[in-house]
Symmetry: C2
Subunit: 216 residues, 2 copies
């Protein structure tokens, strides 16, 4: 049995700062004061610095020497296109591998459960939607059986999450049916269909998000 309690402050700080950025409590592009953050979290600057170094690798903050850290600015349209391209490379491949992996009933049920998305009711509907959508794509990547592939997908999700929360007009319910098409193909062990369904979902999602860039 593990202690279940966090042992290192660094991990706590890492999670806290990640949440801060994800929830836009610190605006994109805003500078991050190490000392202030340390006081706010009631820890010393050292673990803060360590956590920020890890977050820099994840691309959530950027560091300029002798100046400080800053939250990564919002994605430009070009970067967004790159992100979609990258997802189109990774996620169809993950879906295909999951389809060919011979999943058992439990794994398939878990994926199917993650495919459903919450409706537009309730508080924090946007956050709930985003979290559940992330869970589905995470699970799909995990079921590919390739850990490196999974990690790469998770890495990208951070950026997408960041982007979406800032343009909160999510499209409830639209993605769910597309998700289920993917699940069905995976369940049928049809690798080509799974990849194709994933491609269709990603391009559709891309087109849904694209209008947000018109206003900038």
């Amino acid at each position: 049995m593990q202690p279940a309690r966090r042992i290192t402050l660094t991990d706590d700080v890492y999670a806290a700062v990640q949440a801060l950025i994800m929830d836009h409590e610190v605006q994109p592009g805003a500078r991050i004061n190490i000392d202030a953050l340390a006081r706010r979290l009631a820890v010393s600057p050292t673990p803060v610095r360590e956590a920020l170094a890890r977050l820099e690798s994840d691309g959530l903050v950027s560091k300029t020497p002798l100046v400080g850290y800053a939250a990564t600015p919002l994605l430009t349209r070009a970067q967004f296109e790159e992100l979609v391209e990258m997802r189109l490379v990774l996620e169809p491949a993950a879906a295909a591998k999951a389809a060919g992996a011979g999943l058992d009933a439990v794994e398939l049920a878990g994926l199917r459960g993650a495919a459903d998305l919450p409706g537009p009711d309730g508080p924090d509907a946007i956050a709930a939607f985003t979290a559940q959508d992330a869970r589905f794509h995470h699970t799909l990547a995990e079921l590919s059986g390739n850990r490196m592939l999974h990690d790469a997908v998770v890495r990208l999700r951070a950026h997408l999450h960041l982007f979406r929360l800032h343009f909160p007009t999510a499209h409830y319910g639209v993605s769910a049916s597309e998700h289920h098409r993917i699940v069905d193909a995976v369940g049928a062990a049809d690798a080509d269909a799974a990849a194709e369904a994933t491609r269709a979902h990603l391009t559709a999602a891309r087109d849904r998000h694209l209008p947000f860039f018109e206003s900038r």
Copy 2:
């Protein structure tokens, strides 16, 4: 003109530790003492700790709380297979995008120059071979025009480099012709041929490396 002098110790330490691991001056799996490393590099533990945090994100070291850091152990056969799978997802896509990007003569010449590989003569022939091979795949990923794709490929190279140096029987000259097939396809702006040539190269390289696992 840049100061050319080190601005942050952390970056220097990061590079130094990376080199230490890449050159196997610290054995895979060996523990890394923070204080000893700080003394060796003549810096304080703080920047060392910061650099190690970044290296952990890169997967070159692993941390166990209250115990310390350790160099990542050698790839198991399963992990090696995963790595190849991952490369088969990323690099053909990168080659295809490079082929469709309409490269100018300068860029194409740079890629062609990187495709040649040094012969088995001279000191540090293995290191030279590995470095040049890395440079080719690096350049190819960069010419895809997608920064995220490029970063992902670079991230994987670290692991492969680690693996190869430990099994130093490289296959000089074999890869070069395969490299040139890729360059030709990219130069002809034939995306499908570029992807296929890259796939062929990667699977061939995989088969060349596979025998090393028999003896373990």
